[in-house]
């Protein structure tokens, strides 16, 4: 299969920029584990897909070369552009702040954010390590399943990698989810086009004999503010390595070492990233640590516990992936930090490490390790990028 990697996955033979001027033209001295596994399984890596600067934006609009816009003038991620141009049959990358799931939702593609720990992150650019995980985007669920089987597995080089049997189990199809809970608060927070899409999907589920019930998901709303603390805090530390010395961009305007650091970072980083770095740095300050960072980690447990309660009753949950089904460059011009509002819908999976599957413009979540079962669910509904919902 021809596969593209998003630009957060390190490769020896293709440049890796992370969407940032800081890494323009950078070649890694080694391949990421997912790249090695894909080629080892007989797949061919064709190209890199553009991402927003270190992947914390809405739909890749903060890439240093500019946003990716489709023929209708709507924003779409670089991963979707690669698929639409037939440069690859699937894209593998890193889901940090939900961007690939939003991309798939607005373009009607299939995107699986894998369960935390079942796919190695060795050789992915580290950003929000406690929640980011590898994703697969494709045209059909079967394509994503093929890729998932190639990349899932224990990797001793990744300290967060789960034992082999858990990785294999997550990638092995089991029962198709028979009960689905619909997240009331998240659906109500979405726009009318998304709410209508959710209703269509509910009708499809019921027609397939799936039991569908509305559930109280109010605790899941805490995921967004908590993730908006944890993610910048981790990202701020991880991008501190980019200083213009060891690799990447170096300013031409400096006399002292301090000017070299400051001018290199100031010139190379974009507006959104700078703000995220500063916010992340602030929440880790002594006077904020307990009230914000520490409390956000406790909030994460409450969210995870609520998921456990819900998954004791339902095989999967249904929720939006974004508030509307099309975003234009004007949306991000009006609010450059819009991703930190839109991640209301993606943060629950990011903060909990649970798998999330976007298909037909909506998002399904399942218990940890139910990755292949979620793909079976979307396959059973006939989800396909070229098929109208």
């Amino acid at each position: 299969m021809y596969i593209a990697l998003d630009d957060l996955i390190l490769t020896k033979d293709l440049p890796t920029t992370g969407g940032s001027l800081m890494l323009k033209g950078y070649y890694s001295p080694f391949d990421a584990e997912v790249a090695t596994r894909l080629t080892g399984a007989g797949h061919e890596i064709t190209c890199k897909a553009a991402v927003g600067e270190f992947a914390c934006d809405l739909l890749g609009e903060t890439n240093f070369m500019g946003p990716t816009v489709d023929v209708d003038g709507n924003l779409c991620g670089g991963d979707i552009m690669v698929l639409m141009n037939n440069d690859a049959e699937a894209v593998v990358g890193l889901d940090v702040n939900g961007t690939p799931r939003r991309s798939a939702a607005v373009s009607n593609h299939i995107c699986l954010k894998t369960s935390y720990g079942i796919v190695s992150r060795y050789g992915t650019i580290p950003l929000a390590c406690s929640g980011e995980s590898v994703y697969v985007t494709g045209v059909t669920s079967a394509t994503c399943q093929d890729v998932l089987e190639s990349i899932a597995g224990h990797d001793p080089k990744d300290g967060t990698s789960l034992p082999q049997e858990r990785c294999v189990a997550a990638a092995t199809p089991g029962e198709v989810p028979a009960t689905v809970g619909v997240c009331r608060s998240l659906v109500e927070a979405a726009g009318p086009d998304v709410q209508a899409r959710i209703q269509k999907v509910i009708a499809k589920l019921e027609a397939r004999g799936v039991r569908v019930e509305w559930v109280d998901d109010s605790m899941l709303l805490a995921a967004k503010p908590a993730w908006n603390i944890l993610m910048p805090a981790e990202l701020c530390n991880n991008v501190s390595r980019y200083d213009g010395v060891k690799y990447g961009y170096r300013s031409q305007d400096y006399e002292t070492i301090d000017e070299l650091y400051t001018n290199s970072r100031t010139e190379a980083f974009g507006d959104v990233l700078k703000t995220v770095i500063l916010f992340g740095s602030d929440v880790l300050f002594t006077h904020n640590y307990l009230a914000k960072y520490d409390r956000a980690m406790r909030m994460r447990r409450l969210v995870v516990e609520r998921f456990q309660e819900l998954f004791a009753q339902y095989d999967a949950l249904l929720m939006p992936a974004c508030s509307k089904l099309a975003f234009t460059p004007a949306d991000v011009e009006a609010d450059k930090f819009i991703a930190f509002q839109e991640n209301l819908f993606t943060a629950p999976a990011s903060i909990s490490g649970l798998p999330a599957l976007v298909a037909m413009g909506v998002q399904f979540m399942g218990p940890h390790g139910s990755d292949a079962n979620l793909l079976r669910l979307s396959a059973s509904l006939g989800a396909c990028a070229w098929k109208e919902v």
């Binding site: 070649y27 789960l162 002292t256 070299l260 970072r265 100031t266 507006d271 703000t275 930190f340």
Partner: protein
């Protein structure tokens, strides 16, 4: 967060914002504070912190010798290098 405190954060993070970026960043801080304050009613005092979402069963690698990266190959990515080292301005007068 105010402009003076933000200036301190800029120095700490080796960044220099424009006046417009300062205004945008302060607005971002306010939004995040407001959404965080909305959770004030949730008591987390007896809740255990969740640092890792998956159990960390083994965090230590096997103690085996492996091939290190080649120094010259690593320095190929450096903006400036000399005699096998990263090249930076003098830090001692």
């Amino acid at each position: 967060m105010d402009k003076d405190s933000l200036k301190g954060l800029e120095r700490l993070n080796q960044l220099a914002l424009t006046p417009q970026q300062v205004d945008d960043t302060l607005a971002f801080f306010q939004l995040r504070q407001a959404e965080w304050d909305a959770l004030a009613g949730i008591d987390t005092s007896d809740v255990e912190r969740m640092v890792h979402v998956a159990p960390m069963e083994t965090v230590v690698r096997e103690d085996v010798v492996s091939e290190p990266f080649d120094r010259d190959e690593l320095l190929e990515g450096a903006p400036d290098a000399m005699d096998g080292y990263w090249q930076v301005p003098y830090v001692l007068e």
